[in-house]
Amino acid sequence: MRHFSAVSGLLAAAALCAVAFAGVQATAEPTRGTMVVAVNQEPQDLAAQGTYKEINAPGLRNVIETLIAVDPVSGDFVPVLATAWERVDGSTLRFTIREGVKFHDGTDMTSEAVAESINWVWSTENAFTIQEYAGPGAITAAAMDDSTVEVRSSEPDPLLEFRMSLNGISSPAQLAENPERHFDTPIGTGPYSFVEWKQGQYWSASFNPDWWGMSAEEAYGTSKPAFSDLQFVFRSEDAARVAMVQSGEAQIAMFPSADECGRAADADGYNCVTGPSTTYLYGRLDHSLHADERLADPRVREAIFSAIDIAGIVDLYGMASVPRGQLGPKGTIGFNDALAPYSYDPAHAMELLESAKADGIDVEGLQIEIVGRDTTPRIKPIVEALGAMLDMAGISTDLKVQTPAEFNPRVRITGYSNEPGRQMMQVHVKQNPSGDYGLLLLSNYACPNIDDPTGPSRSSVYCDEEFDAKLFEALASFGDERGERMKELVQYVHDRHLIVPLALLDRGHLVEAGLEFTFGTDHRIQAVYVRPTE
């Protein structure tokens, strides 16, 4: 493999010389061959809407770009395909579109094209999975003039900028001519254009010499692509991805275990680059709906929480930090500084259980089912550790790691409403890229509404009208007021022991030595941020 990349590197170098003699912008051309990235799973599809969720389509942002993006360091929005944007009102944003940008199919990125693309992605008719980040209203876009696009939400939406950082802009010409190909042949504006998707193996893209970023001086365009080609190789085995970097077959491996990341420091040939992510690990304990009534007792819930050594879990998971008694990291709008991590106190847990028992609650009969989905990384030791912890506090458990086929229906109210009263703690990994508590509270704590097809809180097991009322007020508010309201709600759910935050996950990648890797906008792997060290 090494051998081959060397060969293609030579070829690239030769091409470079030729170009240099031709006297064209030689310095902008990629100097390296193929960058192979070992990713943990094959995308479900490569549709433009997939840019919102890296887990679905790793690397897609190299092909399809968004209007704006979140700076990984400052957390601010930065321009990408839009050069400027402004709030018209609570429900409207106006974007100024970058000029001279072309899609990979050669068509121009006009304001109409952008509007059409946005409408496609957010269409409630299409009901793409991006709807999980939909706001209170329906999003539509319209071209105002050649360089201006207005995006409007049917309800006031404080997070509209965030939502616009999610949606990829792809060629509307493709949608018109060849709509099926939209899902497996992405046509965007990015530094790399899509080449092929070998199912079961990899998908690849090659450098786009017409990329607008080659001449643009602002946004992430300041950094130029160093590789002529990208290849995203699907390896579900963790060890296999690590081995690919170790053997030089891949330049980057996603999601190494903490151990492997730790070993990278001592190893020749590769390093581990870590950075914070917006991903969190939590245990969702059944509450109001279809739950065993014993779980309604606050002492039982607190006992369960106290029995869990969260620091231990974080240590076990590795590359993670202990959450401060809440699901979001510091800096999130609504972060409650007053909260401390849930304390680990098995003795206290036992006392609480004793007291509950004294009140006639059948504590002995309690058996918490701890369930994880087998596609979640490192889920087995986590589930086993949780089980052991509860066992040590005298709470019996039933551990399960299930396939998505078994697990998924049990997550959603429509699925689990068939089950008898449960006493289950589901262990999930979720992302909150918005930097705001709103979505997080809505999806995890609001009453799930079976009848609302696009309702975002379908995976909640908590239903509390008082909380919901406050939440919707908070969601509609802006600025500091928003932060305060959220803070209060965070405290509210914390005290009720609804969801135990287990870890805030860091993100790490193994990177071949000699490459300098920085997390791209929105923490994505973007080839423009991978550069050979001098």
Binding site: V242, D259, G387, V401, Q402
Partner: protein
């Protein structure tokens, strides 16, 4: 019709045709070091499996996050000695191997044994009685045998969900045919053999002929197959557990332990290596024993073992 005057190279078996006693078997085994080692290994394994509570130095489940992934031969924070090190939850690997043996081996034993009973009963009766009954049974057996068994097991477990009981159930459903086919063939041979004809002529009822006359005479190949099947099922258990369709955590099955350890194959090599070795040695020992039983009960080559 002709006197069986032996060809020269069969002659020796005639000379040693006196009865082989259990003592002969014992000495034949002792002379064969490899088989002896296999027997000793299996005996130890059984002892550990039965007496896991007394012989395992530590609890197989639980949690000790301070002593995570200690290498073999380390001493934990509480002073406990970990012969084979600890796993990522700080549990003693050796103890888990011992308790894991209980699960892996009981899956293999139960699965193989139940399949054996079902298969042998149907096979012997089908071979002995013949007719439509045999046709139906053998059609079923041939059909099921031509199915890709791992795949079907995978699919059935995918539908039913994994777990100890389901695993054994699936193994029985997918493995009885092997015994059935073998014992049907043996019964077919035996049916036309003279001693069965004789038993028939002397008024023995069918049940007695099948289970008192035929069964003891065909026991050797069945035992060989049973031993091999135990090994095969232990391996299958490992595969299915590895894919997440087998035994569920926190039960320490060997397959699961490899699956858990593979993520740390480089940082904590012992996690995947020892369970893998345990399965390998168990399967190897079972195979060696089966091989030996086959050799010493085979009329053509047994003489070599007693000379």
């Amino acid at each position: 019709m002709a006197p069986p005057t032996a060809m020269p190279n069969q002659e020796p078996s005639q000379f040693t045709d006196s009865r082989v006693t259990s003592r002969d078997y014992f000495w034949a085994m002792c002379r064969d070091k490899v088989t002896l080692a296999a027997f000793v290994f299996l005996a130890l394994l059984v002892a550990f499996t039965v007496g896991a509570e007394f012989l395992a130095p530590h609890q197989p489940t639980g949690l000790n996050l301070r002593d995570r992934m200690l290498p073999p031969g380390s001493t934990g924070s509480s002073g406990a000695y970990h012969f084979l090190g600890t796993d990522e939850l700080g549990r003693d690997l050796f103890s888990r191997l011992i308790y894991g043996a209980r699960i892996s081996i009981s899956v293999g034993l139960l699965g193989a044994f139940v399949s054996c009973v079902v298969g042998v009963v149907t096979g012997l009766t089908a071979g002995y009685f013949g007719g439509l009954y045999e046709d139906v049974i053998m059609r079923l057996v041939d059909g099921m045998l031509s199915l890709p068994s791992l795949l079907v097991a995978l699919f059935v477990l995918f539908v039913l969900g994994g777990g100890y009981t389901n695993l054994i159930l699936v193994f029985c459903v997918l493995h009885w045919m092997v015994f059935c086919r073998l014992s049907r063939g043996l019964a077919l041979d035996a049916r036309s053999s003279t001693y069965v004809q004789a038993a028939k002529a002397f008024g023995a009822p069918s049940g007695r002929i099948i289970f008192r006359h035929i069964l003891p005479n065909v026991m050797a190949p069945i035992i060989v197959l049973l031993t091999l099947e135990i090994a095969i099922l232990i391996l299958s258990e490992a595969s299915l557990s590895f894919l997440g369709f087998g035994v569920q955590p926190p039960d320490p099955s060997w397959g699961l332990m490899i699956a858990d350890g593979r993520e740390h194959i480089r940082s904590a090599w012992w996690l995947a290596t020892f369970p893998g070795l345990a399965i390998f040695l168990t399967a190897l020992s079972l195979n060696l024993v089966a091989n030996w039983v086959r050799a010493v009960t085979d009329p053509v080559q047994r003489w070599r073992w007693f000379s």
